[in-house]
Symmetry: C2
Subunit: 440 residues, 2 copies
Amino acid sequence: MIGPATYFRPEHRAGLDARTRALVDRRDAVLSPGYRLFYEHPVEFVRGSGTKLYSRDGDEYLDVYNNVPSVGHAHPRVTAAIAEQSALLNTHTRYLHEGLIEYAELLLAAFPPALDTLTLVCTGSEANDLALRVAKHATGRRGVIVTENAYHGVTTEIAAISPSLGGVASLGDWVRTVRPPVGDGSAMLQDARTAIAELQAAGHGVAALIVDTAFASDGFIPPSPETRSALAAVQRLVREAGGLVIADEVQPGFGRLGATAGEPSLWGFPRHDLSPDLVTIGKPMANGLPVAGLVARRELMQGFGERVRYFATFAGTPVSVAAARATWEVLHDERLPEHAAVVGAELRGMLDELAARHDRLRGVRGSGLYLAGDVVDAATGDPDERAAVALVGALRERRILISASGRDNAALKLRPPLPFSSADADRFITELDGALGDLG
Amino acid sequence: MIGPATYFRPEHRAGLDARTRALVDRRDAVLSPGYRLFYEHPVEFVRGSGTKLYSRDGDEYLDVYNNVPSVGHAHPRVTAAIAEQSALLNTHTRYLHEGLIEYAELLLAAFPPALDTLTLVCTGSEANDLALRVAKHATGRRGVIVTENAYHGVTTEIAAISPSLGGVASLGDWVRTVRPPVGDGSAMLQDARTAIAELQAAGHGVAALIVDTAFASDGFIPPSPETRSALAAVQRLVREAGGLVIADEVQPGFGRLGATAGEPSLWGFPRHDLSPDLVTIGKPMANGLPVAGLVARRELMQGFGERVRYFATFAGTPVSVAAARATWEVLHDERLPEHAAVVGAELRGMLDELAARHDRLRGVRGSGLYLAGDVVDAATGDPDERAAVALVGALRERRILISASGRDNAALKLRPPLPFSSADADRFITELDGALGDLG
């Protein structure tokens, strides 16, 4: 289930230096075997700044992978906000605190007017879990439709709608999958018709369709006029069946995708012409503190709030909110979505140019600073997981951090902190060029 | 479902000062209706220190309620650790970081040797959700046994085992309840026999028994020799049925209960002679940052880790771990479990003395700084929710923070930050005495 070796495996142990080996051994002795380390040769970072991470040895790595520290590692404004609020007060949402209110006002102003109600939680998994609870409560139905390699999180409920974790066999019997919106989108539409019919026949009905608006684990699927109209049709069918539409913006949200139709944009759903009833947000929301949320139409939360007791101790605390607010301000003051659009286009152009020279690289796609490209067998053009994994490892040795993802684990996943510069792009492309050349 | 008025309700709005009313209105406009504020007259806190919270008006409140900032509000060592690590680095567990390893080593040394494997998550709900996932995976069964008014969290899965949220009707069909271990414990034992038989007859089998080791929502039940032997028998029956035992230490853990058999103790399960297979921890773990965890026998995590992909982005990050580590060090350096035992005993003595003078207060119980007492109808001796709620509100006006809990919402819930002093206890008792007198 885990790819050949973007992760450390016990057989790599012999090749490690003494300190790394000792840390790995100590770690293995105390942490669950489920914990995995990146790379055959794991890295120990001790400091970060902007788009750079620094190892214990003092080596500088260019981060083209980490989407959580989205406004840059250890951004001084976020760090200062956390320090200041921690020293002052950190309680919960059952006392009044203006910080929470101000943040909610700022955030909701960036959504369509109908999406007017915020609930904060701590993780993307909790946000999606709550979104499904609300959808099931509001509709009185339990069927859920997801894309065929979707990933939405790790609670029991959300693992049961995440085929990328354990395949279709691991899903709840109230879950149906649809192909993602590729090509003319007709496959997705056809699958959605079948899914709805099956869920209704089984007595589950349709509570919700949930989609990651970057379709990242389904292979980073960009919208086209055809897929937009297919998604609109799927959305209509789901609504006709009494279901709700959930946009999972945990990964694409907060400006990573750069611009939509030439305008800087914070979210992925408008790119697909989706009009969700519920939107989940998380990862980059507080640049690394555990903050996530659910933005919803009020009527959905009204019924839920009246009949269900829901209180999340650690959510919406003054420190969490201070971190989220500072992250929000940096995102806007430093015009990072605009920057992501510009530098992302530049980087994509460079990748296209690289793909023209290297048979191993194809299908460069994505938006803003959320890009992908397939590593393929030069002869057959088929996805080549082994080569992708080798490339990720080779880049680590060149002090560049990326990862591989997608159904075949052969799509390079590029999602650097948003302050990624043209110089960073140059450095990355130089090393990728070299590593592709070495691949043969 | 929500008690009469430990919470703010719209009809209280007219009685508010202008600023509070404006904040409440702004809050209502943006947050889910599920968000609730404490008190008819909500409080706006802007600063905290030790056992005190300070309102915007500059009034000092004594905190006898908040168990999350367990080593004291805004403890300077914890605050400094958060500030320092935030300014340095905050990534995730797929790179090596010695802080995580050191913390896991420290923490596991405080558990019985068999409980040797740590998984970090962000919230108590996630910890219990993961514990059930592991138990179901390890046993191949799905039945879960909980106490009749249990609360374990808010994910879909965990709400389905939390009767205190929505009553027995809200539980999963794979859940059975047992009475808590009161009296000679025979009721619990009898219920457990029935629960196991029913779960087996329904084809669910028994995956786990899960208990909050303070039995807080079941009314704060202290152990006795009789309940200990009843729990031991229940534990044996569960194991004979192939199930696992989960101790939920999210609330009682990290020293709140003071001492067990005269020795300072961090956990609640040894008080009941329980030998859990899985232990969940959370709330006070990082003094307010979202940090929680699952401590388990390695063989359980081995199978789970090999076959299930589980990665929690925000869990075990350098900043989370720095906060947890500093909290741990303060807890030990300031000998807070010992302190909780001593001051808790003092406070309990004062409460007993108060109960002897006020017919309205009975059944003082608990351990360390986790105490309860029932507010009753003086004539009948029955739990009096209305009076309990009035008392909580009256104490808020006297600048003392407590709450009411339990099945009848008539048990006073006392769980102050652990540095609670004898002077704090005096101040609290003086005000409680006055408020009880005013109750009539």
